[in-house]
Amino acid sequence: MQKGLYIFIVIFIAVLSGKAQPEGFTKVSDTAYIRQKVNEVASETNSINTEFIQEKNLAFLDEKIISKGILLYKKPEMLRLEYTSPYSYLLIINNGKLLIKSDDSEMKVDLESSKMFNEINDLIINSIQGKILNMPDLSTSFFENKNTFFIQLWPEQEELKKYVKTIELYISKKDYTVTDFRVIELSDDYTLIKFVNKKINEEIPDERFNTQ
């Protein structure tokens, strides 16, 4: 009786804390191998050219907001995030500089001077490559199914905890690259980004990352 009650309490707490095992996935106990493989692939990745589909889910909306675009990444820290539909928005990060362009405005930010943008920059670049697994101040849980590793990350850092409840990464078992990336806010609203038509180590000219 006491054992039954104990199991019930454990399950109840797990459900409440949102850390229950996701459906269709089983817990991975040996995570060192996954971390090692993801790091190996990340170190061999010099560039990424991928389309993306972003789904924004808001509790009060009955439908998602779906936007599309192209993401370019080049080592060491060059990023171009371009939304093409249904709105135009361009974000380029290169050599500590950030450029944001929309239909009729442009903003340049020195990342060194902006702690918030700097943290977001680290988060994006590390998430694309899966290197987020190496970031400190994030606790993790690993799960898997036949084709995918599913990794949940919980920020421990106070600054990030103000915005993010959980980060979820889906990593392909085929090539150990990130296929989906979901950021869940404190309210449970979330943003899911799916990477499609991914091309690794294709030549991308530096001009695509021009912040001037």
Binding site: Q54, K56, L58, F60, L61, E63, K64, I65, I66, S67, L81, Y83, P86, Y87, Y89, L91, I100, S102, D103, D104, S105, E106, M107, M116, K162, Y163, V183, E185, S187, D189, T191
Partner: protein, 218 residues
């Protein structure tokens, strides 16, 4: 002397308020009596939801974001959320059927009392609940069927209407701290105005919204 100084200070602080309260007579409107005028809402009765791109100019700073406006038929309220283009929620507010509003979320870096209050009062001008009273009405002396309704809605606000335009073309609010707030609404379609611009007379603070053609919703 002290009394004189106090009077000067009070009068000088009230001066901007008087200056910002320009009379409708100067704009060619005449007060009318016993005329039944219709309050045309900004968003049509069958409105569901709409997506806007937002540009905020504050001083020398320019910010962009997205705005989602959704009508909730269950409680006849409107929800408005500001989101970053990458999806992060920045601000969310609910405009209730009794004319009041409730801020549901403010991101940490926007969490300034004055900013939240100004955004709430500005966006509140777009959502008429039907509980507003018409205090006065004015008709244009030069353009036929053009009229202004002075509504009692958390203070007095002037809504300008033109013939053959689905909603107000302009909204004007007399403010004591920031001076007059003016909203220009353009290009009405089946999802409300395609362009909305808020300006503030005594503050370099402008909010522009442009409706996004979004086919992803039913």
């Amino acid at each position: 002397m002290k009394r004189y100084l106090t009077s000067v200070l009070i009068l000088s602080s009230l001066l901007p308020v008087f200056l910002s309260c320009g009379s409708l007579h100067h704009l060619g409107y005449r007060k009318e009596v016993a005329v039944n005028r219709v309050i045309k809402p900004v968003f049509p009765p069958d409105f569901d939801k709409s997506l806007y791109s937002v540009k905020i100019i504050f001083g020398d700073n320019v910010f962009t974001s997205l705005a989602v406006i959704k009508y909730i038929p269950e409680d006849r309220s409107f929800r408005l959320a500001l989101l970053s283009e990458a999806g992060m929620r920045l601000f969310e507010i609910e405009f209730l059927k009794d004319g009041s509003s409730q801020v549901n979320y403010t991101s940490d870096f926007m969490d300034r009392k004055a900013v939240v209050k100004k955004l709430s009062s500005d966006f509140g001008l777009l959502f008429l609940s039907g509980s507003e009273n018409i205090v006065k009405s004015f008709s244009s002396a030069s353009v036929e069927r053009k009229y202004v309704l002075r509504l009692k809605k958390d203070g007095l606000k002037d809504y300008y209407f033109s013939p053959d335009v689905e909603g107000p073309e302009k909204v004007s609010e007399r403010g004591c701290v920031f001076g007059r707030t003016t909203v220009i609404l353009n290009k009405y379609g089946d999802k409300g105005p395609r362009e909305i611009v808020f300006t503030h007379k005594m503050l370099k603070f402008e909010i522009s919204l442009k409706q996004i053609d979004y086919s992803g919703w039913n």
